[in-house]
Symmetry: D2
Subunit: 458 residues, 4 copies
């Protein structure tokens, strides 16, 4: 998963971009990069690691100019190597161009083969690099025409910002899979994956970039185009459930409020008699509050999260059990002992973590543990930019809810239905729910790997 | 502030110590170190930075042996330099010895002068180094006798663990200022500042080290001594309010439960009509839950915390206002707009952060903001190991509550009284409350710096 | 300037390549790189810095396989950045390919423009990258045919080695500007810029790669082709004078012996009555020995060289005079005091260093200093791969020998004539002597920069 | 072995010290350090590595003030760790003091035991640290008195410079083992192990510090004392043979001239009929020139040295023979083929390198190889500061010259006699020749290790 940010026409462009990425850090902690333009040339700095570690004062200083785009990344395609860090910046016949991309192309393998057969040399494994090769081969003369010609050839999910010496351009794919919003900060336009970026810098939220919309920003202001064929809308519903920050507005709705409604919906449909509702922090907090409010069962922080968990961690030997969870969470015996507990989480992927949490709660004295999940069972992998395991590893793909409940050792387990989910989010838009229902809106030729082939037989 | 950990007689001593420090990371993120003993010699690794960044697999491997002690540090005395990182490990006539110290000595300047005049050469600015010089000069023959002789000469707050080739020794000063607990893990004794360390590794909590108690742990097991003169007890009440982790038991009580009671007490004494109670995350969460429960006003997470805030941060120019807070917190307009809000925090130091929070809440639409603090006004600096600003900088030292309320721009402001605080914590022990009432239990000759001199005229 | 090395079919290919580069370190200390092939894919490591600092044991281990090519570099085209370090390794439609290049192309600007207009994206500023783009666009099917088609389009000086998964290929341009030799080591073929590489690893010298020759080495052994049109020979005579190591054989002759003959020739034509002959160490040593032998004047090491001179050096303030030379050389008063001295050097570029040496010798007591240069005046810049300053900076381009003698403050100054130089090297080959006579064998469209344009008016 | 430097009262003290150390780099490449004084406090920077790598501009800037001392080190006592890098700088009751020490104390073990029993804590393994503990325990009131009292207690070889806030002090031990000279630079006094330091910065050589002399330098100028009891002189004769730079004056004589005389003496006593004299570069060059001049046999550089040899080197497998030497030296077949060769070196330690050189020369075609060594057989280890192997490893300690000749596979081998050595150096001083004759001038209690005990049975 990734986050993107851009600003045009501000004296502190690189610094603002750094702050914007800071607020988007939850969308990718693996690597980050910024490209700035001083009007004559582009400047790039990118590295593995966290935003605050990469961009020190002296680095920011080298990113001269009044426009900049930035990217934070958790790899979906391309391994974890410096060459696969974004933005991608290249020289080509028409000058310099940089691109930052959130999403996943589904026809990248075939496009790459075609380009290589024509003599293109690729420097990375990223699908994003295909975009710049397509632009470099375009015969069209304007910046925006070359980009649109390139994007017409790619298929899949993308919210993307481009920068050259004199212009910034943002696009959201026609399906609108990933969010991208327009803001205004001290007279300059900003683009960001989530509006929490705008809040951090103090920018005003203007509106979403619409699905299929191209916004070109230069010294004359913002121009909007809709050059692509219209297709059914498919914004990713998982952004609400887990991925986006609760303080962001995406697809026109506040994430925290949606999550509270998901929790309240759960409480209505799957009530349970209990002494307290506790969240799996931090992502489960709003839904747990919603559940507590709707049910009247008191809310408690029965699981304490250690916020100093680092990226690399030395696993101890098997003698220390349930380790992966304990490094992050601790259960509060004083609160839980002898109590019936509802524990609310956003989703279950492999089930191993949930099982450890249930066991931890029982070991801390909970007499009953009722698991409530604020989304439907996750049964299908995502090919549009969220990093999910293959289908075989998704517990809900191969097991019934009853079987999962048994595996978790919980006293009861309930998921939201797809219908309730849509109701809680709001019905007026259609969403991509492929991870729940397997209905993939965009077909694809690229099969990620053999084991996943099988799933399309279903 | 600091955290200490020790384990004796375990095959994975250094690895367990690393995990123990991980759980204590909130007590000091500036630097960390571990000393292990392989029975013949000690091995040391220490560095500036976070536990998970310092102790990689290859470093842990070099820390051979079956006993280890560790330390995390946020400097109280001694600047932020590698030479001031603990544990302190030295060679002296009787072999090697290492020490990890949580607290602050109040007679270090005079002891150091005496030692230097006798020819001792100091390598650091830490008061902890005085302890090893006193040990090196002792004529007594046993490990424990030399240590006790040394500790009889120092005055102030200390919970401390020592390690030599064959023994581990833990001491809590006679006043019992700082916590230190005994646990048992797979047959081995462990010592830790907080019990959340025990939970992480899966150790069983045995009991506190008592004020003035010396515990000597070697191949024959644990022996306990009480060699010091008895004095009035003075465990630090601020450990409950802010410093310790909510999932720890310190001084015999669970921190989360105490904090909830502080919030409930606030709600009883300083009620207010409002639409919601919100915490300043994360430290204000338990008290806010307590306030919500007691008052019946709904609990909401109206402020969202960014957990990716790094240690170094580039300040933007003044054009971006309220920056220091916005990098960490964001207010949820959808939740707050048009609402009367009670915001609960644990304490107010300088007042600048609280003021920014109140303004942020109002900007997000809150119609009224009522600030409730789950401790009395912080009026006096701490000389026993908590890093507080000088008295002049403590807003409550120079301003009335009414004046502070005006400064914060809040609609009302209330603190707990000292009496209510003690009641909520539990009356059966006497505590050090010097930061609230200025009653310093241990006198001191070391004046930290001139401006603070004045405060004793009060 | 650069040095290249390659080996095919040896269990320790990367390690041998590392040693080969070690012996070529004098040809480039700025950066180095090695690419190895394990039969299925290529592995690359390259970095700024010295060979021995870059290639540690753990790095060598990652360079798997039984073939490897390597490069050491002192930049001629392309700035000093990691992206400009060789070998260049890329993925293209036909697999992976790597290239290491010694020399300088003279039509790189126009080729790059053509390629970029067709949509090629360049990642570096090196002329070497043009070669791989030409290969990637070739429609021919064999490794060697694609390479030959590419090399037919480039013009200038190049000795070059290529590596793909299964083959190594070496080429010397038809003029034969730069050296490249074939050796045999434990049954495997090796290629190297200079034969001193063969001596270090213990390889046997087989023969030079001939001008215009392509040698293809694979599991079937070595095959030779001569696919290019024949042109006049032009091996670089400056390799003998300064660049190559004295223990190498290049263009069929040993460098040390040639340099001694240059010194002897100088002594015959420009004798002087003196007490001793001293070299400017290290490059002037063989010519000084030749001068001493021919003239009968005793040889002394009157200038001592500091061999610990690092790459970066902090310049002191002007108060310390003649600094640039003194950090490297010191004059021996005990040897020089009151003596008439002949000082022998290989060439004079700007004249500033020679002037400092003359002054240093006089300050150390020399009563007369006679400068003898074992080459003709350097009047023209090199466009074929040796890094020389622009024409304006070459003292001999703008001043007569008499004027230079005056500037140096020497008592006499003599250079070899071009005729004597050719005689001493041996007449049977024709050489590129453009740096002395301005006769550029290959015309060029790329003008390095404006100031040099002027020189072609001469 | 080590080199020391000091300057008092110069605006660029740290920069000059850096340059001085640069010229002394041959005396120690393992680590380096500088301490400066700004009049109020001392500033230290030290590190493993080479002078030019350690002292960059920004580091030099931190070394404020107008006096400085520096040290380069190749370890004799104390392992290769940062804590063992000099200068040693400490705080003690009287302020700050730093010391840089060249030599080796022979009673350090007993002194350290005494000090530790009194409660001193040592931070390193260096004998140098004993000196500062003795100073810290002195009850005397002046800087110089405390130092002299300390130095009266130590025994062995030392040339040493001290620095405190306001004074610099240099001492040479009463035997005068190691060199130390006084220079004057732009009105400021400088002290250095060798005069080549003075030449580099442009300082004027004043005189040697005399054996047993203390020179105190402060704002009032230089004062000299002779506080120690007089003992027989014993300057180290090996400084002339190998250790010092040829351009230095030590013990009143120029090293290059002494070495030439050693070579000439060899030629007189051990003549041989041959085609050429070649040196083992670089240390054998002056003696080879002396041999050539005296014998009339032509001088040639038949062995070429690779000057880019790094500090760390990956050893190839056994398949590459004679490797250790080949990485440094290459033999010139064109010069040596069919010739009778005299090869001159300064000394033979283990014999393995010499044997490889003889074999390399024969493989390059030499018909006869006659080895001439410009010193007597090295039979005894040095305890006064030169890093030699234990006696068992010294080939001349266990084998006759005839046996060594056979081992080397040379056609003849000759060493200088001790008498000829003394004659060539000059008779008027008595020297320490313990490495040749086993006569140790200063007795010692510290036995470095068991195997060496045996040697005193001789």
């Amino acid at each position: 998963m990734c986050g993107i940010f851009g600003i045009f026409g501000h004296q502190e462009a690189a610094n603002i971009t750094y702050l914007g990425l800071y607020a988007l850090q939850h969308r990718g902690q693996e690597s980050a990069g910024i490209v700035s333009s001083d009007g004559k040339m582009l400047h790039l700095h990118k590295s593995m690691g966290a935003v605050a570690d990469i961009f020190k004062k002296d680095v920011i200083k080298t990113l001269k100019g009044t426009s900049a785009i930035g990217h934070v990344r958790y790899s979906t395609t391309g391994g974890s190597l410096l060459k696969n860090v974004q933005p991608v910046m290249v020289n080509y016949a028409k000058g310099m161009i940089a691109v930052a991309h959130n999403g996943n192309l589904v026809n990248s393998t075939e496009l790459r083969t075609v380009l290589e057969n024509k003599g293109s040399i690729f420097q990375s494994d990223m699908d994003t690099e295909i975009i710049v090769h397509l632009i470099a081969r375009s015969k069209l003369s304007s910046f925006q025409d070359r980009i649109v010609e390139a994007m017409e050839q790619v298929s899949g999910a993308y919210s993307v910002v481009f920068l050259n010496e004199a212009r910034m351009l943002g696009i959201r794919d026609p399906y609108g899979f990933r969010p991208l919003s327009i803001g205004k900060f001290q007279g300059s336009y900003v683009l960001a994956s989530e509006t929490c970026s705008f809040d951090l810098i103090g920018a005003e939220y203007v509106r979403e970039v619409e699905p299929g919309e191209v916004v070109l920003i230069d010294k004359n202001g913002l121009k909007s185009f809709k050059p692509f064929n219209e297709v059914p809308l498919a914004p990713c519903i998982f952004e609400f459930i887990y991925f986006s920050r609760p303080d962001s507005i995406i697809f026109g709705r506040n994430v925290y409020s949606v999550r509270k409604r998901l929790g309240a919906e759960l409480a209505k449909i799957y009530p349970v008699e209990a002494d307290m509702v506790i969240p799996v922090p931090d992502s489960g907090v709003p839904a747990a509050i919603g559940y507590s409010e709707e049910s009247g069962i008191p809310f408690e922080m029965g699981l304490i999260r250690n916020h100093y968990v680092g990226r690399t961690f030395i696993e101890p030997r098997q003698s220390i059990r349930h380790f992966g969870v304990k490094i992050k969470l601790n259960a509060l015996r004083e609160v839980l002992d002898g109590k019936k507990v509802v524990v609310v989480d956003d989703s279950i992927v492999r089930g191993t973590t949930s099982r450890k949490i249930v066991k931890m709660l029982k070991k801390a004295g909970a007499s009953e543990v009722h698991v409530r999940i604020s989304s439907p069972p996750t049964r299908f992998p995502c090919f549009y930019g969220i990093d999910t395991p293959t289908r075989n590893e998704l517990i809900a793909s191969t097991h019934s809810i009853e079987e999962i409940n048994k595996y978790l050792t919980s006293d009861s387990l309930a998921y939201l239905s797809v219908a309730s989910l849509v109701k809680a989010v709001g019905r007026e838009k259609s969403y991509c729910k492929a991870c729940f229902d397997g209905k993939y809106v965009v077909g694809f030729s690229d099969m990620p790997d053999e084991p996943q082939m099988a799933l399309f037989g279903n």
